[in-house]
Symmetry: C3
Subunit: 303 residues, 3 copies
């Protein structure tokens, strides 16, 4: 059922790799009230805006990198710095991750970081993807994804790192690891994260087919935990997180860490070889050609 | 859904640690017709009553330690002896575990065994909890839990060791590993047993939140296998077990052992370090204080 | 529910071991239009008929070993040769496995290959069962099982090696690993394949009880993915496979291989000891006696 529905709704190759809009005209001055990322180019607006409510101990992280929150090196660096700051702030116990962009949570890895770039650049980029996963999947905070738009590939990965996922109940959105549709393979730690979320069998089929699930189907297979009307997603997330915060931090954190340790250790102890593997793969002529064709296609679609 | 339902029904901190009633006035003389535990103090009634039906090869083990079948050192010792005797009795092929106490299957580990006690005592206690789990999870008998009351923490663990779980369809009862609600962490083999029962994702969320599930929700996630009217639970359990006994013992036992071996080996080969870890944890000042506060709270509630 | 339904429908000991009809009178001359197995005795008709459609890249493999597609040494050898040929043919990207026999997909391992046979013969037979599993579970092709009849034991194993399972919606058919019902134990790689398909808990219960599931129940637990009217199963399978073939081969193959590697490696590195274990087990007097009794019973039922 879910397969057929997912296949039916396959609306093309949106996903994994999204193209950073080269001329982002709508520059907004959204500076985080509390946390200003340190290592960014101040000629561009921040890609992450964090609202931290000291009374509840909950931070809401708005991803605001137009047009589709592509996971670029800059974006990931900014995100990791933000998460690390919150992690070190004892008063911050919960994190809601959401999008400030319309219709999309995150479109996944930024294709321009891997197309026509040096092996060194590709390696640095991949390390930042790993870092994002390690920081979020291993976070001591309660993390809730408020998925208020489509969330393919890397966007789905980010959502799966969270403790709980609430998605907008809009059938035009979808979520999933759709890498194979683009001729790319989700790395083992993407797979492991999905296996931990929806089990071996569903993961095997979803990854082979690169399935993107509509919210209702994602709920059915357990890829998300709850659906809410689009304009309620963030509010419900902050309500839900208060229930998680009722549990003593220390016990909850140890429990979470024990449940995820094996999966995290696997990447930690294979980090360099995973980077090497990615760089070798992505710099292949055939893959570069395929990425180029995909970017061409995206450009045409926009024009 | 299940989360929201479970959270809604959280009726306080009942669970994991239950306080042994210090003056149990209703002493009954329920001596097992066939099996009299050997190593107990005969000034107290037996905490375990076993009815063995030689015609069917099925033993029914009634836990009868008022008020709530707390898993004390004495209780666990008696239970382990009973199970071992049945295990060695070739004519006994099936075991139904149930409660003779009203409204509760077992309230879990006895808090008085870990509060204000010496490290040696805590260690001996923890070894008996391990022993119970090893005996039941590795049993060659068909084991069915007839869960005729609430079954938090250690009570849930005991139920999960069985081959099949039938629970009373009474929405006032609940079942789950709620350790984190008390600031305690379920040890890795509790986690593994739950993962083997309901899968990684459900376990991760249930354990982080210390969720207690109503029967209908427990059925939905697979924590129990069947619901029956309260007064039918034991009868249905003995009927159900006959179907399991239709399978040749040897093949069924090897199958069960192969399916559980990895999980059992993990504790067997880490038994001493697990005891050491528990003793270090439970004798910490902060944990002792929290246990003390919890016992105070229970006393007040009863008064 | 599923358990009770499955138990209710247990219609005897059909399964695992099927007896090869000694006098197969209905010899048909169905020679594969494209692939003629090389190493078979041409005095018997081929047990496997392959139709390969070069325009779609999809091969349909019809098992046609009367009466019930028992997995004999000859049958398995022929099947493995066919699969290997298709695997090496770059133009063949998808494989549908189905039965040309009425009412049965495959009845599982051929009992006559293990009854009254030399250890050497039993070992050679077992190696061919392993080979079938290794070839199918590790296939680079998209594999879909069109299960147009009952599929117990080895038949279920074969179906589970595929990427997707479509079963005839006929309540008289069933599917499952029912080895324990015959006093036999499914080997670890049968178990692993089922765990990868329906998870640990369902596998544990199904294998202990040797459950055979009706199509509707098999769908519920995820043992099959889709039900179709009996006369539509093959057509729907070839339609479905085209969706899988829309995914770039290379990415899909690597993904499949990564998801199954651990399970496959486990048998590959324990192949000889697994054979030794099987031979020791099956040649035991008690097991031989039990097999003999089962064959007697089958003979009487037919008479």
């Amino acid at each position: 059922m879910a397969l057929r529905a997912a296949l039916r709704s396959r609306s093309g190759l949106t996903g994994l790799l999204s193209q950073r809009s080269s001329c982002s005209s709508d520059i907004r001055m959204c500076v985080s009230p509390l946390l200003v990322p340190q290592q960014r180019n101040y000629s561009t607006p921040p890609k992450i805006r964090v609202e931290f409510d000291q009374s509840t101990g909950v931070a809401v992280m708005h991803m605001q990198s137009p047009p589709v929150n592509s996971l670029s090196l800059d974006f990931l660096t900014e995100l990791c710095i933000s998460v690390e700051k919150l992690e070190m702030d004892k008063s911050c116990r919960g994190l809601v991750i959401t999008s400030a962009q319309p219709k999309v949570f995150s479109a996944g890895l930024d294709i321009t970081e891997m197309y026509g770039k040096s092996p060194e650049h590709c390696g640095a980029f991949w390390r930042s993807v790993q870092e994002m996963w390690l920081k979020l999947y291993g976070s001591n905070m309660v993390t809730i994804a408020a998925i208020n738009g489509s969330s393919p590939a890397g966007g789905c990965l980010m959502a799966m790192t969270c403790d709980y996922r609430i998605m907008a109940d809009n059938p035009r959105y979808n979520i999933g690891l759709n890498e194979t549709q683009l001729g790319i393979v989700a790395p083992f730690w993407f797979m492991d994260t999905m296996k931990n979320t929806v089990g071996q069998r569903t993961t095997e089929m979803a990854l082979q087919l690169g399935l993107l699930y509509k919210p209702a189907d994602a709920l059915k297979i357990g890829l998300v935990d709850q659906l809410e009307p689009e304009d309620q997603v963030i509010a419900v997330a902050t309500q839900t997180i208060s229930r998680w915060l009722a549990i003593p931090d220390h016990a909850r954190q140890i429990t979470k860490s024990m449940m995820r340790k094996k999966t995290i250790d696997k990447l930690t102890s294979n980090r360099e070889s995973d980077i090497q593997y990615f760089v070798n793969f992505i710099t292949k002529d055939s893959i570069q050609k395929s990425l180029g064709g995909y970017m061409e296609m995206l450009k045409k679609r926009r024009a």
